[in-house]
């Protein structure tokens, strides 16, 4: 769907992107991950034909974006960081305008409108003025304008920016629905966002691709020997002389544990961080209780994306394609 070869973008003398090369297949959902200023938005604006690359080739749907930007624009739906909304228009009226300006005929638009309103859950507010909508609804209208003309490629730049937790979950579900029909590019600096919605990741830093691949493949490149779960636990040990050493020995001896680190004390409890190959919270809890210890807190998370991200962004090894 997208082929980028040695693409770079300069604003004056300042390099914003590249040179970068990569390909994105039709039907894929790819997450652009990186800190602010990493080049995510620049890359997405180039694919949306809003920016012309300073050098390199960009092909979208077998069409050269530099030679035929209008042809590419017909294939693309773009939600920029700030949704391009006319506050003085009704939601329905605005979506009709967005569809028409992207080349849809009036009958096709009439047929498409209920689908779009339904998909983005905007049916209720379709006759409201845009300036009266909440931020969450505005973001939805932004997505609706990007999909109204049924583009092959959908580009969403920070779609969950400024949304509250409930709206984030709703937006995530919306993106999952959109994956079924479109090739989707999403940019974000929120790790879970990308992790939960994308098939593949492109990590950008300082305008370059730091890593590309699935979450699992990146983890194996960055931390081939490390566990993928970080379990945090606080234990009140049974009375013994060397309680800490005994607990550590017990934890280290459990199947799947790769490392146990001290995390200090929490009142009467000793805290540890256990790195494990998988989620072993249940086994860990059972072993401690059977050993006569009291578990006062246990929590855990898959540490994959966070680890990859931090390692790469902070100048760790670069795992290129």
């Amino acid at each position: 769907m997208i082929r980028a070869e040695n693409v770079s973008k300069y604003f004056g003398a300042k390099r914003a992107l590249g040179p970068v090369s990569f390909e994105i297949e039709e039907g894929e959902t790819v997450g652009f991950l990186g800190l602010n200023g990493a080049g995510k938005t620049t890359a997405l604006r180039i694919f949306a034909c809003d920016l012309r690359p300073s050098a390199g080739t960009v092909v979208v749907g077998n069409i050269d974006a530099v030679q035929k930007p209008h042809e590419v624009r017909k294939l693309v739906g773009f939600l920029p960081e700030n949704p391009p909304l006319y506050g003085d228009m009704l939601v329905r009226e605005y979506l009709q305008f967005a569809g028409r300006v992207r080349g849809m005929s009036a009958p096709a638009l009439k047929k498409r409108m209920p689908e779009v309103l339904d998909l983005t859950d905007l049916t209720e507010v379709q006759n409201d003025m845009i300036f009266t909508l909440s931020h969450g609804f505005r973001q939805r209208v932004g997505v609706a304008q990007a999909i109204v003309h049924e583009p092959k490629l959908l580009i969403l730049d920070e779609p969950t920016r400024g949304l509250d937790p409930v709206q984030i979950v709703e937006m995530r579900n919306l993106v999952r629905n959109l994956k079924k029909k479109h090739t989707v590019l999403i940019s974000s600096h929120i790790l879970t966002e990308i992790s939960e919605t994308c098939d593949r990741l492109l990590m950008l830093g300082d305008g370059e691709i730091l890593a590309s691949g699935t979450e699992e493949s990146l983890l194996s490149k960055v931390e081939p020997n490390a566990g993928s779960w970080r379990i945090s636990i606080a234990v009140v040990p049974k009375a013994e002389d060397d309680r800490e050493a005994a607990l550590k020995k017990l934890l280290t001896g459990l199947s799947g544990v790769s490392e146990v680190k001290d995390s200090g004390r929490e009142d009467d409890a000793l805290a540890f961080e256990v790195l494990a190959e998988r989620d072993i919270r249940a086994e860990l809890c059972r072993a401690l209780v059977e050993g006569g210890h009291g578990v006062v807190r246990i929590g855990g998370s898959a540490r994959n994306l966070e680890n990859i991200f931090l390692k790469l962004v902070h100048g760790g090894e670069r795992a290129r394609n």
């Binding site: 809003d50 920029p80 700030n82 391009p84 992207r102």
Partner: protein
């Protein structure tokens, strides 16, 4: 053409929905009314043709000011509010965007200018002027308004903020007006060229304002309109796909 029509309808709707358009229209009519009373009716006994000339004299000034005020928002506001990206990422040519926006502003401006028609009609009913004198004067107002709108749109295409666009547009229109005065200090043939480039004196004062329809002046205003709209489209093109 299709995209122009879509953008035209959206922009005209924006003018009709926004209170700014009505405020500008109300101010124009108020100022015109006051000037009509003070400059045309309130200066003793005058020939009705002279009263009509004075009406078109100040109306041309208010039309230029209103045209600049209406046009500055057209692109600069879209840049400021980040809505221009919708048009920039759509398969629409820059010339179509400019044409749609210009036509909407022109229709709105013409509507407001026509609201002042009751003043020349009063002169027509009570004095000795012809309807064609009034019609020619209004054609002149539409033409000078069209040229001023194009100047304003060009200024708007250059700026990121509406205030900067306003300052640029007013400066450009002011320079175009002052060219005639500047021409008086210049030797021939430069003086002739500058006189002919002036926005008002050589093309409105001596023809449309007197009730004289001049093809030369019609061509001048259409050329100025086209020239600045072309500049605006080229500026958009340069900024859009950088």
């Amino acid at each position: 053409m299709r995209a122009t029509s879509i953008i035209f309808r959206r922009e005209l709707g924006a003018y009709l929905r926004s209170p700014v358009g009505y405020v500008i229209a109300a101010l124009l009519l108020l100022v015109c009314g006051i000037l009509f009373q003070a400059k045309a009716l309130g200066e003793g006994k005058l020939l009705s043709a002279t009263v009509l000339q004075r009406f078109f004299e100040f109306s041309s000034g208010t039309t230029v000011v209103m045209a600049i005020a209406l046009s500055i928002r057209l692109i600069a506001e879209e840049r400021q509010t980040h809505t221009l990206i919708l048009l920039n990422t759509s398969p629409v040519r820059d010339a179509e965007i400019i044409a749609g926006k210009f036509l909407a502003a022109f229709v709105f401006l013409s509507g407001i200018v026509l609201l002042s028609l009751y003043m020349p009609l009063l002169i027509l009913v009570n004095g000795k002027i012809t309807a064609s004198q009034v019609a020619v004067g209004y054609i002149g107002l539409f033409l000078i308004g069209s040229a001023s709108l194009a100047i304003g749109i060009f200024a708007s295409s250059l700026a990121r903020h509406q205030l900067v666009a306003a300052a640029l547009g007013a400066s450009l229109a002011g320079i175009m007006y002052l060219l005639y005065e500047l021409a008086k200090k210049m030797p021939a043939p430069l003086s002739t060229v500058l006189q002919d480039l002036g926005l008002w004196q050589a093309h409105f004062q001596t023809s449309f304002m007197q009730g004289v329809f001049s093809l030369k002046d019609l061509v001048y205003y259409l050329s100025v309109t086209y020239f600045f709209l072309l500049l605006a489209a080229k500026t958009m093109e340069a900024k859009r796909w950088q």
